[in-house]
């Protein structure tokens, strides 16, 4: 589903800052992958490359059959519309739309007309909050709306950037459960975090340091259950 070959990314014109160096990565459909690393390791840059929000300095990225490193501007919009869906640390849901309308936005963006926002919100535990505006929801509820919006796109790749970063532990666990569920249903789910505890529930943990992958494999102590997490 996701194939990265020799991906490098440098920033700056003068003395370049290397964000990623010769990264190779493959993610299959149905995999729940956690990209782990400290601040400045390049993990968000990696996520942005996969989501075609940014382009690599060199190397190739193929996601859902599209070579995003070679695609033109129009193709990139089409790619984002049909292949990936994002979940952001600060949610980025639209304050002017209700929960249901935010979910509907995901469907509208991809041109889907077979989506029932209320049903999707029900599936993320917000069946009673469909008509609430974002400012009437808690942080956890807002992030669930963001996940529901991502689900409404029906896209095969879900990219989450520090999805629990602004949430308390219990809410964070609930969000992770939702993401796990999506992977189980066949989506490729990539979660970027600096929280090592979260990586314990992943199928695979890709650890970055200074723009390089220093490890890639299942959690060192084996895959943990959600109930075992604590932070």
């Amino acid at each position: 589903m996701i194939e990265l070959r020799n991906i490098s990314k440098q920033f700056g014109d003068g003395v370049p800052i290397v964000a990623l160096a010769d990264v190779d990565l493959s993610v299959d459909a149905g995999e729940f992958v956690v990209v782990l690393g400290p601040s400045g390791s390049g993990k968000t840059t990696l996520l942005n490359m996969i989501g075609a929000l940014d382009s690599p300095t060199s190397g190739s990225i193929v996601v859902d059959g599209t070579d995003v490193s070679q695609a033109g501007r129009k193709e990139l919009f089409e790619f984002r519309r049909s292949s990936v869906s994002f979940i952001f640390q600060s949610f980025n849901i639209f304050p002017g739309l209700t929960a249901a309308e935010n979910v509907q936005f995901g469907a509208d963006a991809t041109g889907r007309d077979d989506v029932d926002p209320a049903a999707i919100l029900q599936s993320v535990g917000l069946g009673e909050r469909v008509d609430q505006f974002p400012h009437e929801l808690s942080g956890g509820e807002q992030q669930r709306v963001a996940i529901a919006r991502a689900l409404a796109t029906g896209n095969p790749v879900m990219l989450a950037d520090e999805p629990t970063g602004e949430l308390d532990f219990i809410t964070g666990v609930q969000i992770l459960e939702l993401l796990q569920k999506q992977a189980a249903e066949g989506q490729a789910v990539l979660v970027v975090t600096h929280n090592r505890e979260i990586s314990r529930i992943a199928d695979r943990v890709v650890e970055l340091s200074s723009g390089r992958i220093i490890s890639d494999g299942p959690p060192a102590e084996g895959k943990a259950a959600l109930e075992e997490l604590h932070w």
Binding site: F88, L97, E101, Q104, E166
Partner: protein, 830 residues
């Protein structure tokens, strides 16, 4: 025992710290300005246009007042004028003697007898035919320029006692100026007399030329011919006679008493006399007395432009400052007092204000120069005092300076009232309330979420949306008022022209030199001219109707069943008019009468072959006609018996014969005896049209600044909205929404603002237009009955500007949207 730490003593360099800190904030605010430099300049321009337009537009009252006073004083305009009834005259010296014999003769400072008679002037040059009606004004020139209503020489040389009786004259400067005539040359007047004009001069009664028998301004189509008394008497066949007296009175005099006594004394001479106080002189009234009313017209527009700019600037600066809300919270968290926190945005406000005031001076000078050049070409005065009105500009600049401060301080004031943590927070805890968005939660708007978002965004921030819409609405109102005023003026002209042309569009009006029998050889000669195809005799008389408001009338008495031309009626029927008056609708309205009502009218009754006296009669209002000219009135010739003037005429309507044009008629009739002037019936409307072109020029030039203001506000609003919505746009782009769709949403959002602003502005503009037409114009130009009119072009301009330009303003942000740093904007940063 725990020792408490000692409080730190105040720094010896406390003042230095404060200064350092202040300079840091100043530098920081300077960086803010550089960051938003396009918006800063645009906002400063909004302030500049608002303050500058106000100063420029409101300056004309002071200019006109000062210039009028100086010009009148220079030429010693009369205080009261005594005009003998049409074709009446008395022996030279009789009028002065009558004035000298009144009880309060000591109140009279100076007196001047004159001969004033209409004529026709041929001032054609080798390249241009200039054949116009005019007026010969003869006075005593023993001391050069007359003592009252003096002549200010604008070109050539003046007259002196040696020119008395000689065929040497001066031409009125406006006539020379508008026809581009040389400063000296030869003209021919009625009767074929050739006169040498040696110069051109200005005189108070001709500062604005409103001839008795025309509707309004006629600077280029009416010739004032100034000569010695003897020359004028010789030219008009009034040897040894005069028909006009002007007086100045002492400062402590009761002018009304003098006027009454002199009028009685002149009446005792057996002639009718019309008393004209200086304030009723058309030139004086239009120039001087109506300055305030004219200024009201510009003041209301200036104020609205200013208010629109103030609202716009306040809104834009507030939104700019609100972007610093989080930084204000951080400062609060760091313990800075609110006063210090407010410094940085206030510095930004001050710098915008300074720039705005600077622009204001430039715009003020630009608009001032524009007004000045139009005023100077419109009103030919010997003295023009047009200094930049710093006092007017100062107060408006103070407001223009304070607004950015208030606008910058407002968000700070709001921010420091919350806990620092609330200001710092990002994410869900910082989510702002939904404004009025929840109010339409249940209302399903058509379309998908992309269709909902623009409306929801507007309702999320209703205060901001309303302020933006009101700012643009104020500008739209000014535009509707401006353009509507032009439409209303032009509409009145069209209605007037339409009636005057009627079924005989080339109809010529031939003014006779006096009242003649219609069967006289002179009248017959006109009818028999090769270029003329039929005539209609008309007796044209001045009258005054008494009603709720007294109205002066120019009554044309003719056979209303004639086949050439008759007035078009809006009420009543020609067949039933009888001896009644046909009034203009505006005259009937001002008099408070309708068809069938009786009206008391002071009108001339013939007392001798060439003399009339005024008597009061009760006349029925027989019908109303469609012309907007208030003084224009008509009667059937069956009413001539009332005036003792059966079979008499002083005007003929003449239709050009087949194969001849108006110029041919003018040239042929000019050479005939008893012809005073020949002009197209529609000439006065054409003159007004030309004058309106200049007035329209001012309005259009100001309209340009108004358009610029609207575009600047729309652009700024769109630009700030773009920054406020950056994260939402970035989220959309992350979900694959195309830039054009995001732009479309921004366009829809602005479209709603544009529609609301245009509707509100249109309503406000109509109200303003109503006020201009029914209050200001009714006072300033009582002789023209204006109606509120809006042309399709005005409607199109307002719609295009108010809706299309505002709606399309977000397209300016297309480039920035396309180049948006998505990861940075989404804050997916490590």
């Amino acid at each position: 025992m725990v020792r408490r730490p000692r409080a730190r003593p105040p720094s010896k360099n406390c003042t230095g710290d404060v200064m350092k800190n202040t300079f840091l904030l100043l530098r920081w605010s300077w960086r803010d300005l550089r960051k938003y430099w396009v918006k800063v300049i645009a906002i400063a321009l909004v302030i500049g246009i608002g303050t500058g337009a106000y100063a420029g537009l409101t300056s004309t009252a002071n200019w006109r007042r000062d210039s009028n006073v100086a010009s009148m004083e220079l030429l010693n305009m009369y205080d009261v004028r005594f005009e003998l009834a049409t074709d009446s005259s008395v022996e030279e010296g009789a009028l002065l003697a009558a004035a000298a014999g009144i009880e309060h003769a000591d109140w009279i400072e100076e007196g001047l007898e004159r001969v004033i008679r209409p004529t026709q002037v041929d001032a054609s040059t080798a390249t241009d035919a200039v054949l116009v009606p005019g007026q010969i004004v003869g006075v005593d020139i023993s001391t050069g320029s007359p003592a009252i209503n003096g002549w200010h020489l604008a070109g050539g040389v003046g007259l002196d006692s040696a020119d008395a009786g000689a065929p040497v004259v001066l031409l009125e400067h406006g006539f020379v100026f508008h026809n581009d005539l040389p400063p000296s040359g030869v003209i021919t007047v009625s009767g074929g007399e050739q006169l040498e004009y040696v110069g051109n001069a200005m005189t108070p009664e001709f500062f604005i030329v409103v001839p008795e028998n025309t509707t309004s301004f006629a600077q280029g189509t009416y010739a004032g011919v100034f000569s010695s008394m003897e020359t004028a008497q010789s030219l008009t066949g009034m040897d040894g006679a005069v028909n006009d007296l002007i007086l100045t009175v002492t400062e402590d005099a009761d002018r009304d008493v003098v006027a009454t006594e002199v009028k009685a004394a002149i009446s005792d001479l057996g002639v009718g006399v019309n008393v004209i106080p200086r304030e009723d002189d058309p030139s004086y009234r239009l120039l001087f007395e109506d300055v305030e009313n004219d200024q009201e017209f510009f003041n209301i527009f200036a104020l609205l432009i200013f208010l629109g700019a103030v609202m716009g600037a306040f809104n834009l600066i507030t939104r700019l400052s609100e972007a610093q809300r989080r930084e204000i919270g951080i400062s609060m968290a760091l313990g800075l007092p609110p006063g210090r926190i407010a410094l940085r945005p206030l510095f930004v406000g001050a710098q915008i204000a300074l720039l705005g005031v600077g622009f204001g001076v430039l715009v003020g000078v630009a608009i001032g120069n524009l007004m000045k050049s139009v005023m100077e070409s419109l009103l030919l005065l010997p003295i023009w005092l047009t200094d930049f009105q710093w006092s007017l500009f100062f107060w408006v600049a103070v407001v223009g300076f304070v607004i950015p401060f208030a606008a910058a301080a407002y968000p700070v004031w709001r921010a420091v009232r919350v806990k620092p943590i609330e200001a710092i927070r990002t994410g869900h805890l910082a989510a702002r309330g939904g404004g009025l968005a929840p109010a339409i939660k249940r209302l399903r708007l058509p379309g998908d979420t992309f269709g909902q978002l623009p409306f929801r965004n507007l309702l999320r921030a209703p205060r901001r949306a309303v302020l933006t819409a009101l700012g643009i609405a104020a500008i739209m109102a000014v535009l509707v008022g401006f353009l509507g005023a032009i439409d209303s003026f032009l509409g009145a002209l069209d209605r007037g022209t339409s009636m005057i042309e009627g079924s005989a569009p080339d109809r010529m009006v031939v003014s006779l030199e006096g009242v003649l029998p219609v069967d006289s050889p002179h009248v017959a000669a006109i009818g028999n001219a090769d270029s003329v195809d039929g005539t209609v005799p008309v007796l044209q008389i001045g009258a005054r109707a008494q009603g709720e408001e007294d109205v002066d009338l120019l009554v044309e008495v003719m056979d209303l069943e004639n086949e050439m031309w008759r007035p078009a009626l809006t009420d009543g029927d020609i067949a039933t008019v009888g001896d009644g008056l046909i009034l203009a609708e505006v005259a009937a309205s001002d008099l408070g009468v309708g068809v069938g009502d009786t009206l008391r009218v002071t009108m001339p009754v013939r007392t001798g072959p060439s003399s009339f006296s005024f008597v009061e009669s009760d006349l029925t209002v027989g019908a109303l006609h469609e012309s907007p000219i208030r003084f224009s009135a008509y009667m059937d010739d069956s009413a001539l018996a009332l005036m003792g003037a059966e079979g008499a005429a002083n005007v003929l309507y003449a239709n050009p014969a087949a194969g001849y044009g108006p110029d041919d008629v003018q040239r042929e009739l000019f050479s005939l005896d008893a012809v005073g002037s020949v002009q197209k019936a529609s000439a006065s409307a054409d003159e007004l049209d030309d004058l309106m072109a200049q007035f329209v020029g001012i309005l259009q030039a100001v309209a340009f600044f108004v358009l610029l203001l609207a575009v600047l506000m729309a652009f700024n609003s769109a630009s700030i909205s773009f920054e406020e919505r950056q994260r939402e746009h970035a989220t959309m782009f992350a979900y694959g929404v195309r830039v054009r769709k995001a732009l479309r949403m921004a366009v829809v959002e602005n479209l709603v603002i544009g529609v609301v602003a245009t509707v509100v502005g249109f309503g406000g503009g109509l109200l303003m237009l109503w006020w201009v037409v029914n209050v200001t114009a009714a006072e300033t130009m009582p002789d023209i009955g204006l109606m509120v009119e809006l042309s399709p072009m005005t409607l199109a301009t307002v719609i295009v500007l108010g809706i299309a330009a505002v709606a399309l303003a977000p397209l300016f942000t297309a480039r920035r949207m396309r180049r948006m740093d998505l990861p940075g904007t989404l804050r997916v940063m490590e």
